[in-house]
Symmetry: C3
Subunit: 242 residues, 3 copies
């Protein structure tokens, strides 16, 4: 039985991983779903950067004294688990990237997205008053929730929170790049995930920065935590098993 | 309940969309399957160009006074629905491209296919006597009907009609390119569709010309109207819903 | 009813195709699963090159006087069936490449793999004493058996045999390249096959060297003969039918 730590993406909280955690627990594993600093209701968006975000998950893990972890990161969560793995290497059994960013030392999330996304985020953050970003609903509905009906797209959108933009623009500091990390690695790619356009997509463009890794692919969009949590749980266990 | 207009591809007629229309109607929607000018039995192949083809579908829509349409185009039908959307913008709720060409102003269908297809079509049209093209059976069987058995490949082939080649070579005239059209858009990609070779394929090469769009992907080849009409109907409804 | 000859990949034997052959036989076809020279227990790895390997399968076919064959090759087996098709064209009804190498005249298997694989193989062969290569277990487990659990990955690994490296480095001699061969062709692509990295993958990079071919795609990794032999058998029959 393994210990899974599921690290959510931008605009999400740990609570939104509950439906995914349930079938993994039912299979006998321990599952943790912390919320990254900057995404809790009361957190300051203005003052949270990538270092703070990474530290909050690392602190969660050392605070609970978790070991032999399968550490899963979704989307922006890939930035966070990469930083955590660099700091807490001895506690991690396997890294699992789920349609997630894979940074090398010095790279920011924004350095891996298309120019038109950066321009849009810059504009939204500038208008926010606290350097936070939200996703315009039409992009969420068409590019993130393409496998949902309109009601689910809307109800999921209503649960999102403004995201601290500095975590997208801060370059990550790593002592070693993911390909050289001495830990097992998996990449879960949902094949209809167009949160990044497929001409500039998740896999293999970002996944292959891991060096040797295990690919798990399933049908679905970027937000299977809403549209298919059972399928996501199955994929996570296929990615996380020995 | 929505109003679907299904626009067939080259060599096809509206009648060949009947098996796909049926489950969409059974789900409560209105479905129209007009035949594009140039593909009816008696139509002159020699004198039908892209403008005539587009006008025939636009006339069908205004003649029936259809509004709030989900306008679906297959393959060559992508040229036609793009032209119709430019002329009848106010009547279209969503454009759905199903393994379809997406032209910008001034582009022809032929400008989006590999050189060896153009050379083949030129040769066939020149030999036809009326500037029409047919698909050689081996290409139909292997590249279009790869998911069918031999009997279905042959019986479907027997229902095709010679296609007016000018509709492939005429550049389209648009006042605005698809990415800038103020209408919702979806792209349905069947993942084994090799009517275009995958190195020069439908998605994301052509789909991303839409700007923001909803991707729906399913297993199947180019001719799921024959090999899996129920699956195609399901995909069209997932692409067309709000 | 067709006659199938299934040609295994590197490190495998014909016996490992037994579970795949069974459902094809149950559907009424004749199935042969020869072992390529160099992969039998007693064969000399040091002295077996690509010509010897090809000749051994050609001899099997002429020895059993097989005709109208659907000749299927897996991975390295694509080198072998291409060579056999060039020598025994009159006996082959269709070539089926299953995540297999497609060589043109003068190409070696090694010329189609990433540089880091070649460097690794060179090193392993140099240390072997008989110019043979084995796959390190971590690569097998993560990149070849990504769709298996750990027990199956290990038990399958235990059945592999050292492979004669000259068959990877010898250029093939062909009188005609696959695209010009006058025989029907299919390519089966398992979509999670990362034995070649997807940025430098099987399909369409290698498949399109066939010219006109039938694509069959299914979910699964490189070693579906272990992880899903029934699904593989179904795919082979969809690729091999008229």
């Amino acid at each position: 039985m393994a210990t899974y730590v599921l690290v959510h993406g931008a605009w999400h909280t740990g609570d939104l991983m509950a439906a995914t955690a349930e079938p993994i627990r039912a299979a006998g594993h321990a599952v943790h779903t912390p919320t990254i600093a900057g995404n809790n209701p009361g957190d300051s968006r203005a003052t949270t950067g990538l270092e703070t975000a990474i530290a909050s998950v690392a602190d969660y893990i050392t605070g609970a004294n978790l070991r032999d972890i399968v550490l899963v990161g979704h989307s922006y969560g890939g930035m966070v688990i990469t930083g955590v793995a660099d700091r807490l290497a001895g506690r991690i059994a396997r890294l699992v990237y789920w349609n997630a960013f894979v940074p090398n030392d010095g790279e920011s999330l924004n350095s891996m997205v298309p120019l038109h996304y950066r321009a849009l985020f810059d504009q939204i953050a500038a208008a926010s008053g606290d350097n936070s970003v939200m996703l315009p609903y039409p992009i969420w509905r068409e590019a993130f929730m393409n496998d949902a009906d309109g009601d689910l797209a809307q109800s999921a959108f209503d649960q999102l929170n403004p995201h601290p933009y500095a975590t997208f623009t801060d370059p990550i500091k790593l002592s070693v790049n993911p390909a050289e990390m001495q830990v097992a690695k998996s990449y879960i790619n949902f094949t209809e995930d167009t949160a990044l356009p497929h001409s500039h997509g998740w896999h293999p463009r970002l996944s292959e920065k891991l060096g040797l890794f295990r690919l798990v692919q399933r049908p679905g969009g970027h937000e299977v935590c809403f549209t298919n949590p059972e399928g996501l749980a199955e994929a996570i266990m296929a990615a996380g098993r020995d």
